[in-house]
C-alpha cells in the first residue's frame, strides 16, 4: 500500500471510530464535569483529576472514591469497595478475548486498559455485527471516549463548584446508553432468562446490603442461568 492509500485508510478508520464513540463522548462530558467538581471538593486539582480519569478511568469508581472520602470512611475500606465494584471489568475483558487472538501485545494492553461499561457495549456490538471492525477501531473508540472523560473531569475540577449540574439527571445519560445497548441485544428464550436473572440478582444483592458487588454477582448469576436454560432446552 502506498503512503497516500495508507493515510486514507487510517483516516477512514479514525472517522468510523469517532462516529461510533460520539454518543458516549457526549455522555462523558455530561457526567465527567460533575465528577471533576466532586473531585475538587476532596482537594484534587485539575491535573490530578485529568491523570486519574485518563488512567484509572472509571466513572463509578471515581464517584465512589469522592463520596466515601467525604463521608469520612477509612482509606482501606474505600480501596476495597472501589476494587470490588471494578471486578465487573473482568467479564468485559474475557468477552473481548476471542477478537484479539492475532493482535499484538502492546495494542491488546492499550485496548484492555481503557475498556469501560459504555465503550464495551459499543465495541462488542460492532465486533459482533461488523466484520471490518478491527482492534485498531476498538482502541480508537476507547481513546476518544477516554479523552472526553479526562478533559471533562479536568474542566470540572477547574470550575469547581461555580457550576451546579444535577448529578441525577447527568447520570441518566449513562442509564439511557445502557438501556439502548440492552434493547439492542438479540432476544430469545436464553437471553431473556439471562436478563431477568441478572436484573433480579442486582436487586436482591442491594436489598441484602451488598451494593458494591451487586453488578458482578447479578451478571454472573445471569450468565449461569443462561447456561442452565440452554442445557434444559438441549437436554
Amino acid at each position: 500500500m502506498g503512503y497516500n492509500a495508507l493515510t486514507m485508510t487510517m483516516k477512514k478508520t479514525a472517522t468510523q471510530a469517532l462516529s461510533a464513540a460520539l454518543p458516549v463522548m457526549a455522555g462523558y462530558v455530561a457526567i465527567g464535569i460533575p465528577c471533576g467538581i466532586l473531585e475538587s471538593q476532596i482537594g484534587m486539582d485539575a491535573l490530578m483529576a485529568f491523570v486519574m480519569s485518563a488512567t484509572f478511568y472509571s466513572g463509578a469508581g471515581q464517584f465512589m472514591e469522592c463520596n466515601m472520602w467525604l463521608a469520612g470512611m477509612p482509606m482501606s475500606s474505600i480501596i476495597a469497595s472501589v476494587s470490588f465494584v471494578n471486578t465487573r471489568q473482568m467479564l468485559y475483558s474475557a468477552a473481548f478475548s476471542p477478537y484479539f487472538t492475532n493482535v499484538r501485545k502492546r495494542l491488546t494492553f492499550l485496548f484492555s486498559a481503557t475498556v469501560t461499561d459504555e465503550s464495551f457495549g459499543v465495541n462488542l456490538s460492532h465486533f459482533v455485527s461488523d466484520e471490518t471492525w478491527t482492534a485498531t477501531h476498538a482502541t480508537l473508540v476507547n481513546l476518544f471516549c477516554m479523552t472526553s472523560w479526562a478533559v471533562s473531569a479536568a474542566v470540572g475540577a477547574l470550575v469547581g463548584s461555580a457550576v451546579a449540574i444535577p448529578t441525577a439527571i447527568a447520570a441518566f445519560a449513562m442509564t439511557s446508553i445502557f438501556i439502548c445497548l440492552l434493547v439492542s441485544q438479540p432476544l430469545n428464550h436464553i437471553t431473556a432468562v439471562v436478563m431477568v436473572v441478572a436484573a433480579a440478582g442486582v436487586i436482591v444483592c442491594k436489598l441484602m446490603g451488598l451494593t458494591a458487588p451487586a453488578i458482578l454477582i447479578g451478571a454472573c448469576a445471569g450468565v449461569v442461568a443462561g447456561m442452565v436454560a440452554r442445557e434444559v432446552r438441549v437436554g
Partner: protein, 107 residues
C-alpha cells in the same frame, strides 16, 4: 486530601483496575476455548447490560424522596426503550432519556 493520600488511593485502585481489565484478556486470548466457555462469554453482554440498568434504576433509598421521585427514572426508561427499539441509536436514546427525565422533574 493530601498528595500522599491521593497517591495511595490512586495507585492501589489503579493496580486492581488494570488487573481486572487486562488479566482475563491475556489469559484467554489466542486459546481454543471449550464450547461451553465461548457460550458463556457470549452471554456476558445481555447479563452485564441488564445488571447495569437494574443497578442504575433500583436502590433501597429510591423512594426516600417520595414515590413519584422513585418512579420518574422508571417512566423515563420506558420512553428510552421505545426510542431504542425504533432508532437503535445511542445518541437519540441519550437525548430522549435525559429530555424525558428533565420534563418529568418539572411536572
Amino acid at each position: 486530601m493530601s498528595t500522599s493520600d491521593f497517591l495511595t488511593l490512586y495507585l492501589t485502585t489503579l493496580v486492581t483496575m488494570l488487573a481486572c481489565r487486562c488479566i482475563p484478556m491475556f489469559v484467554l486470548k489466542g486459546r481454543d476455548l471449550p464450547e461451553k466457555v465461548s457460550e458463556a462469554l457470549g452471554l456476558i453482554p445481555p447479563a452485564a447490560f441488564a445488571a447495569l440498568v437494574a443497578n442504575d434504576l433500583f436502590s433501597t433509598t429510591m423512594f426516600s424522596n417520595g414515590v413519584w421521585a422513585g418512579l420518574m427514572p422508571l417512566v423515563a426508561s420506558l420512553v428510552v426503550v421505545v426510542v431504542a427499539r425504533k432508532t437503535k441509536s445511542l445518541i437519540w436514546c441519550v437525548i430522549a432519556g435525559v429530555g424525558c427525565y428533565v420534563l418529568l422533574t418539572l411536572i
